[in-house]
């Protein structure tokens, strides 16, 4: 049976799609058969970030409406052979995701994969609810700012009350905090909330911290998930995230401001 992981946030633009792509790629690198699904109907960003937009013929919505078989809509990743993308439609609206339809597709995916990663749309409405409904675990993507933390809190409440697990009275969804776009210098300057602040407010286990980095933009422009950007901080940070998710211990990095130049270090800053 597959494990279903939702990447969610409430607030928009915090890094869900970036994280879904990197995290799913990381699981596949570790040898797990993984599928990543775009639940953001109407926007369709995941295929761009995964660099497979030109190969989309059928999508999630077509499968739900019986216009295509699941196998026709699944796109194999260009870099990892055990990673598949289930893209969404850009022309339909959110109502095209029916509860029953999603349940049927999830059930079919269950038998074929080890991990199902769901890239949630922003907000707390139907689209986000559908994305989190089947989850066994949740990655709550949060930026170090008050509004993002508030929305994450809101989503945590919804995870605890509105998911399938909650409705059936099963074990609650495993909750993981992922702090993204973290700029230690700006935290030090008091412009951003610190990791401690965010943890104190949300009180769920920390999965990792992804630094703010231009590499993310370069990666998404090239259609390469950030975890493949060899030797960069963000790639290393996302690898740590995957390792921790799989139960391995990894010390936190990229949470201190970078050491400044040689001379500063020599003469003391």
């Amino acid at each position: 049976m597959a494990q279903t992981v939702v990447v969610t946030s409430g607030k928009g633009g915090v890094g869900k799609t970036t994280t879904s792509a990197a995290f799913a790629s990381g699981l596949a690198q570790r040898g797990y058969r993984t599928v990543v699904i775009d639940f953001d109907v109407g926007l369709r960003n995941l295929d761009l970030v995964m660099g497979c937009e030109r190969r989309v013929v059928y999508d999630f919505i077509n499968v739900i409406h019986g216009e295509a078989r699941l196998q026709q809509a699944l796109i194999r990743d260009k870099m990892l052979e055990n990673l598949y993308i289930l893209p969404t439609s850009q022309t339909r609206d959110k109502d095209a995701l029916t509860t029953d339809g999603v349940a049927r597709v999830m059930e079919e995916l269950q038998t074929q994969f080890d991990y199902i990663v769901c890239d949630s749309p922003a907000g707390i409405e139907s689209g986000a609810l559908r994305a989190l409904y089947h989850a066994d675990a949740a990655i709550v993507v949060t930026n170090p700012e008050v509004s993002s933390v508030r929305d994450s809190d809101r989503i945590l409440g919804i995870l605890a009350a509105r998911s399938k697990r909650a409705e059936e009275g099963a074990e609650p969804i495993r909750e993981h905090l992922l702090l993204t776009r973290y700029a230690p210098k700006r935290v030090q300057g008091g412009e951003m909330l610190s990791l401690d602040d965010v943890q104190e407010l949300l009180r769920i286990p920390l999965l990792g911290v992804i630094p703010e980095s231009e590499v993310i933009l370069q990666a998404s422009n090239q259609g390469i998930p950030a975890i493949h950007m060899q030797g960069t901080d963000v790639a290393l940070a996302y690898k740590d995230v995957v390792a921790r998710f799989l139960g391995e211990e990894r010390p936190l990095r990229f949470v201190q401001p970078e050491k400044t130049g040689f001379f500063k270090r020599l003469f003391g800053g």
């Binding site: 109502d95 508030r150 409440g157 009350a161 009180r203």
Partner: protein, 227 residues
């Protein structure tokens, strides 16, 4: 007859909503108006909200001032959208004003963690998160974890919060002036007792401290919880 049927643009779908229920205990429009005026802040909770009028406590043979109620409630900022627990005659009068008769049952707040409810009150062991709201009817409300910013706890009796209190807490919401609020860490957005409320910020001398809130006449008193 048109041979080519045009495609309908109407779409009907179902949805489940949580609504507030206002239970009226008397048939007089004047009393309602007076009570609304007296309730003040407690009623802010339903501002802009759709509400159902529950008439359980009202004699089913009475003819009711639905039209006046509607005016008063709308003026108070809420939107009655239906009635329940009414006699057939009352339902008919309500329906004539666009208030359908609803037969739903009270639901436990759908988006809130489970509570253990006993005669002594309600105990929540999960944190209450932004957007969640809990009401302990007829007793105390105890929250073992945090009440986060944007969450709201209400009780007819006392409110006790053993984690940080960062949201809103309202005790004695039915008017019990002896109700109090106790918290381990006072960082609340708002505290209220029997309708007397106060907003707080980090300037407050007891901010972040263990404190209790009580009502003395018109004023809220916040003092440190000694231990």
């Amino acid at each position: 007859m048109n041979a080519t049927p045009t495609k309908s643009t109407l779409r009907l779908s179902g949805g489940v909503f949580t609504l507030s229920i206002l239970r009226l205990t008397h048939a007089s429009a004047k009393t309602l108006q007076a009570e609304l005026a007296a309730q003040g802040p407690a009623l802010r909770l339903v501002q802009g909200a759709a509400i159902i009028l529950d008439l359980t406590d009202i004699d089913p043979s009475l003819s009711l001032p639905f039209s006046e109620w509607l005016t008063i409630l709308r003026e108070a900022g809420c939107f009655p959208i239906g009635v329940r627990n009414v006699s057939d005659e009352q339902a008919e009068a309500a329906a004539a004003l666009g208030l359908p008769h609803l037969r739903g049952s009270d639901a436990k707040a759908a988006s809130a963690p489970p509570a253990s409810n006993t005669a002594a009150g309600s105990v929540f062991s999960q944190p209450l998160r932004s957007g969640q709201r809990q009401y302990a009817r007829g007793g105390d409300l105890v929250c073992l974890g945090a009440v986060n910013a944007g969450a709201e706890v209400l009780a007819d009796g006392h409110v006790h919060v053993y984690g940080p209190l960062r949201g809103r807490a309202l005790a004695g919401v039915q008017g019990d002036e002896s109700a109090r609020i106790f918290c381990q860490r006072l960082e609340a957005e708002l505290v209220a007792i029997a309708g007397v409320y106060m907003t707080l910020d980090a300037e407050h001398p007891l901010w972040g401290k263990a404190a209790q809130v009580s009502l003395d006449g018109e004023h809220l008193h916040i003092i440190a919880l000694e231990n």
